[in-house]
């Protein structure tokens, strides 16, 4: 054999082996790439929202509503009578989303969605604390923080379910709603539903990983990277909510 190429097996060179691209493991890199693709999907929905929203007249001028101490039993009908929900004007979010569980009839604009945002951000914090505990191989701490994250996620889902129920109860459907253009409620259900589906799958994944943590799977493996990967997904879900919240309720 006259000509043999000698591939260096010295670990210090690029072809020496033992190095992963970007210095992250395969699973983590793939999770990042998946999140990028999912970000595109959500972006396309939000872009569609932006376009449709701006093709309708803005919420009407006299939408400055001062908080009322007591509001009529049928708030929607009262607002309709006052001419504040006109079918070709995009509705003002603070007039539509002004309810709160167990507090009936009081005008609390955007209170509930703020609570939902806080719940999701807090569950993100507990998730990253679980990851951090995983770096120190503290099984019990990881398990506790993961449990808190699961509870936070479940709480968010419950809140979203309540929001949907109330909204549907006030007459919102995919084909129309009493507040404004038909796309308003349709877009709301599609985007929050798609996001809620991601939260749900995130909670399911978290439960599976939580049970694995309790079982000691990752102690045996020697690292808690699976917690990190699932944490990436959970933070992505929180990130999307930040933008959904910004676009649907603020813009």
């Amino acid at each position: 054999m006259a000509n043999t190429t000698n591939l260096s097996t010295d670990k210090k060179t690029a072809w020496g082996g033992g190095k992963s691209p970007f210095s992250v493991s395969y699973g983590k890199l793939m999770m990042w790439i998946f999140l990028l693709s999912d970000a595109f999907t959500f972006s396309s929905l939000l872009i569609a929202y932006g376009f449709i929203r701006y093709s309708f007249p803005s919420p009407m001028e006299n939408t400055i509503v001062k908080p009322l101490s007591h509001v009529a039993e049928h708030f929607t009908e009262a607002m309709n009578k006052a001419g504040l929900f006109v079918q070709n004007h995009w509705p003002a979010p603070e007039l539509v989303f002004n309810h709160f569980p167990f507090i009936h009839g009081i005008h609390l604009p955007l209170f509930f969605v703020s609570l939902m945002t806080f719940i999701l951000i807090f569950s993100s914090v507990t998730m990253v604390l679980a990851v951090e505990a995983g770096h120190r191989m503290q099984k019990k701490e990881v398990a506790n923080y993961m449990l808190l994250t699961i509870i936070g996620g479940a709480a968010f889902l419950g809140c979203q379910a309540w929001e949907w129920t109330t909204f549907i109860g006030e007459g919102a459907r995919l084909y129309g709603n009493p507040f404004g253009p038909r796309s308003f409620a349709a877009l709301f259900f599609i985007v929050t539903g798609f996001h809620g589906f991601h939260v749900f799958s995130g909670v399911v994944l978290n439960v599976i990983i939580y049970l694995n943590v309790l079982n000691g799977t990752y102690e045996k493996r020697g690292h808690y990277e699976m917690v990190e990967k699932v944490g990436l997904y959970w933070h992505f879900v929180d990130l999307v909510w930040v933008f959904v919240f910004t676009f649907f309720y603020l813009i």
């Binding site: 493991s25 983590k28 872009i47 400055i64 703020s114 914090v125 770096h135 944490g231 930040v242 910004t246």
Partner: protein
């Protein structure tokens, strides 16, 4: 059959020592930014301008930076990974702005 328990060696980037305090700091920053968001919304209720929307989008992007950078550990990863994720998203922000403007034009066309 003997089951060999082996610990895998994984390639990973180092986490800073004060990670826990960074995490809680980020939480307070995110909470503060959300409160600013809502306060701004009610303060600017009567204005309808692209500038107001740009402000909310900027606030959202700042929050996103903290979530992606600290919670998702991006700030401590290799720069090239950061670029791989961030650069495509710039196109998305651009696209969102374009579609908001397109919506405006469609509105002028219709109404």
């Amino acid at each position: 059959m003997e089951h060999m328990d082996h610990t895998e060696h994984l390639e990973h980037t180092e986490t800073p020592a004060d990670m826990k305090s960074k995490i809680w700091n980020t939480f307070w920053i995110l909470l503060g930014l959300t409160i600013v968001d809502i306060a701004l919304y009610f303060a600017l209720l009567s204005t309808h301008s692209m500038l107001k929307n740009a402000l909310f989008i900027v606030l959202g992007v700042v929050k996103a930076w903290y979530i992606v950078g600290i919670f998702m550990h991006m700030k401590f990863e290799r720069k090239v990974l950061m670029y791989m994720i961030i650069l495509p998203m710039i196109f998305v922000v651009f696209f969102i702005a374009l579609m908001l403007i397109e919506g405006d034009f469609t509105y002028l066309l219709r109404w």
